[in-house]
Each structure stands twice: as structure tokens, then as C-alpha cells.
Amino acid sequence: MTVDELKPIIEAILFATADEPIPLKRITEILDEDSDEAIREALAGLVGDYDERAGGIELRQIAGGYRFSTRAEHSEYIRRFRKQQPSAKLSMAALETLAVIAYKQPVTIPEILEIRGVSSSSAIKTLLDKRLIVAKGRKKVVGRPMMYGTSKEFLIQFGINDLTELPNLEDFEDLVTS
């Protein structure tokens, strides 16, 4: 291939592979029909192109390989962006705890323990932080443990109007038995 044909291919490879710097050798292994000379030239060309553009991305030689990265001067915006990112994501433990709370509410921590078989306090903290659950008063039993239920935010994030819209085991069976 010509250097101009190689450039987009190498660019795509460097972009789509993980964060680690890619050594020249790995690229020449993939493009084994092309000369090392041409590949080296294409890489130099790409580095030059990105320098010239002076955009938000640069292609740098680092730790013996090539890697795309953002420029230091924009780090502030990226940091701001990451912070603002709403994370609707939950760990499996948190999701399961949320599920128990959603279906069994109002429910206390010992009751959740009984169902899940494992302590759920850190999951509960996560769910409280994300405002997916709220405290619903204390249960009138020994020790008066706090009861938890799902919040309005929970309805919003899971796209349902009210708790009756949660799927039940019947809906589930509709799907498995066919």
C-alpha cells in the first residue's frame, strides 16, 4: 500500500485499541505485507497531521509506542465533564439490593440480609447517595431498625410511572414459557 493508503488504517488501529501505547512492531506485524519503511513514514505523517491541526487530540510517541491522547491544556474541561456525568450505573450488588428494596418495600437492613444472604450496607449507602432509595421511618420491632423504600428518582431513572409498573413474576413467566 502507499503511505497515503496506510495512514487511515494505522490511524483506525491506534484509535480503536486500548489506552496503551502501541509499539511500531505490532503494527508492522498486522500489516505484514507492507514495508516497515512505509509504515514508519505513515506514522510520522499522522503525527505531523495532528500537530498541524492543533486540535483536541494528538498522536504521541510514548513508552516505546504510539498513542492518541488529549492535550494537557484541555484537561480542565474533561475533568469537569467527567464530574458532571450522571452515573445511572450500578454494581451487581447494588442492583440486587435495589431489587430487593423495590419489591419488598418498606424493608429493613436485617430483612434484606435475610433475603440476599450477604450484608448490604455498602450497597445501601450507594443507593442512598444516588437517591434511588429513601428512609421510610422505623419499624416497630426490637431495635427499631430503619425501613427503606424506593424514591421518586428511582421511578424516573427506571422510566416507570409508579411501582405497579414494575414487572412481576407473571410477566417474567410470560417470557420464559412459550
Binding site: 431489587a99 435475610e114 444472604g117 442512598l128 427506571f158 416507570i160 414487572p167
Partner: protein, 285 residues
């Protein structure tokens, strides 16, 4: 039965071979058990007979349709109710086609309605969705050739998932099933005594400075063992052998050996003492 299977394979092959190449794209070509519903079979017959979907020779197609049903029955392929409903519909249309048109209605200027109309509409709609499915198939294949920048490892490591309501239901069901399984294990399991548990926990403390209490609870195979683990922890705290603490509010509870209790002699004593106490829930001392 091997013989029947052989036969089955053979006929499936024939069906496949007969299928027009238009649908023959290897991957989603065939459901092994013949046709995906009656409309599917009907469309196949129309194509095979090379007749117009707008002017279906209903007698001929009905006959063929019924023949296929018989074939499926013969091969012991379960003929779903939907296939029979369609058979009834076809026969009904065929009968209506045989009736002479109502001359009075025609005289009154009423438009003649083809008994096949509803069926044709359904077939067309089905065809449209099939073409839409084809379109989606192509889009997905194309999109599969496009790569994005992978998320850096450090962001991915806390393996989070974004969930929908059905994920909630599944998670809930899993937890319930697990709770049930635990209850079953409980019956089968040899019962652990408080003394054994105490010794176990203390042995763990020998090798590790800090133990996550939750981790201890997770080791418990039954509710009873859970309770015993809990009592063992209480016991150790009471005897000032360990200190429990939380790194943060709602954080996991950690347990650490009290360094002042480090004299080897006393620990051996305790273990012995504990082992004498076999089944009491409230040990002496």
C-alpha cells in the same frame, strides 16, 4: 428416536433447499422446525407457486397449506394452534369465494369486497416487517464493522452495569432463589458450633490483621451459621480480643486483632476454653 430424526433432517433439508435464495442468507435462514408461524408458511407457498400475492389462487394454496400441515404432523413436528387457525381461515375464504356474488348488493352500488382482502393485508404487513428485519440485519452487520475507542481499564474496573426494570426483577428473583437454596443447604449441612466458629475466626485473625466482617458473614452457608458467626464476633468483642470499626458511615465493618492481647499463652487458653463450650449460645465468661 434415531430413525425419526434422520427423516426429520432429511425433510428439513428439502425445505431449506426449496427455499428461494432470496431468504437463503446462511445465518438467519432457517428455523430447523420448519416454519416460523403460519403466515411464514403461507408466504413461502405463494413464492414457491409463483403466484401474485394480490390474486392468490386460494383453492390451490389452501390445499398445499393443508398438505404441509399433514407433513409436519407426520414428522412429529408440533403443529402450533396458530397453524390450525390459519387453516380454518383459508378454508373459510375458499368457501366464500365459491358463493355467487350477491346481485342485489352489486345493483345497489355496493363495492364488492374480496374475501381474500384481509388475508392479503396481513401477508403484506408481515412481508413489510420481514423486510424491515432485513434492513435491521444489514444495519447491525454494518455497525459491527465500526469500532469505538475502548474505555480505559481504570474506569471499567468497577464493572458497573446500567439496568432496566427487568434487570431488577431478575436480580430480585436471583436473590430469592439463592435464599431458598440457602434454606435447603441448611437442612443438609452439619451444624457448626459456636466453639468451632470462634476457633475458625481466631485462626483467621492469626494470619490476617484485618478482616471484613461482611466477608465472615458471607462464609456462612446457612442462617444458623450466620447467627453463630455473629455471636462469635460479639464474643470476641466482649472479650476485648478484637476491635471492630467502620472506615466510614455505612461502610463495611472491619475487625482487627487487639495488639495488647497478643500474648501467645492467653490465646491458647481461650481456644481451649471456647472448645469446651460446645452448644451454648451464651458461653460462660
Amino acid at each position: 428416536m434415531p430413525r425419526r430424526n434422520e427423516q426429520n433432517d432429511h425433510v428439513t433439508e428439502t425445505l431449506v433447499a426449496e427455499k428461494p435464495p432470496e431468504r437463503g442468507r446462511g445465518d438467519y435462514r432457517v428455523r430447523l422446525e420448519a416454519f416460523d408461524g403460519p403466515v411464514d408458511l403461507l408466504l413461502y407457498l405463494i413464492k414457491k407457486e409463483e403466484v401474485s400475492i394480490y390474486d392468490i389462487p386460494i383453492a390451490r394454496i389452501t390445499e398445499q397449506y393443508l398438505e404441509y400441515l399433514r407433513l409436519m404432523e407426520e414428522l412429529d413436528i408440533a403443529v402450533a394452534g396458530e397453524f390450525l387457525v390459519m387453516a380454518a381461515t383459508l378454508i373459510h375464504i375458499k368457501t366464500k369465494m365459491l358463493l355467487p356474488r350477491d346481485p342485489f348488493a352489486e345493483a345497489a352500488g355496493e363495492e364488492f369486497e374480496d374475501p381474500r382482502q384481509e388475508l392479503v393485508d396481513r401477508l403484506l404487513e408481515h412481508q413489510r416487517y420481514r423486510t424491515a428485519a432485513d434492513f435491521l440485519y444489514q444495519r447491525r452487520v454494518l455497525e459491527g464493522e465500526v469500532f469505538t475507542r475502548p474505555v480505559p481499564e481504570d474506569e471499567k474496573s468497577n464493572s458497573e452495569i446500567s439496568a432496566g426494570v427487568f434487570d431488577l426483577l431478575t436480580a430480585f428473583r436471583d436473590a430469592m432463589l439463592r435464599a431458598q437454596a440457602l434454606a435447603e443447604i441448611e437442612i443438609a449441612r452439619d451444624e457448626v458450633t459456636l466453639a468451632q466458629k470462634l476457633a475458625e475466626v481466631q485462626a483467621m485473625l492469626e494470619t490476617r490483621e484485618t478482616i471484613d466482617v461482611r466477608e465472615l458473614f458471607e462464609l456462612a452457608g446457612s442462617r444458623r451459621e450466620l447467627v453463630i458467626t455473629f455471636l462469635a464476633v460479639l464474643e470476641l468483642v466482649k472479650e476485648l480480643k478484637v476491635r471492630v470499626f467502620q472506615a466510614e458511615a455505612f461502610g463495611d465493618i472491619q475487625m482487627r486483632r487487639r495488639e495488647t492481647e497478643e500474648e501467645p499463652g492467653s490465646r491458647a487458653d481461650d481456644a481451649e476454653q471456647a472448645s469446651t463450650d460446645t452448644k451454648g449460645a451464651t458461653p460462660t465468661q
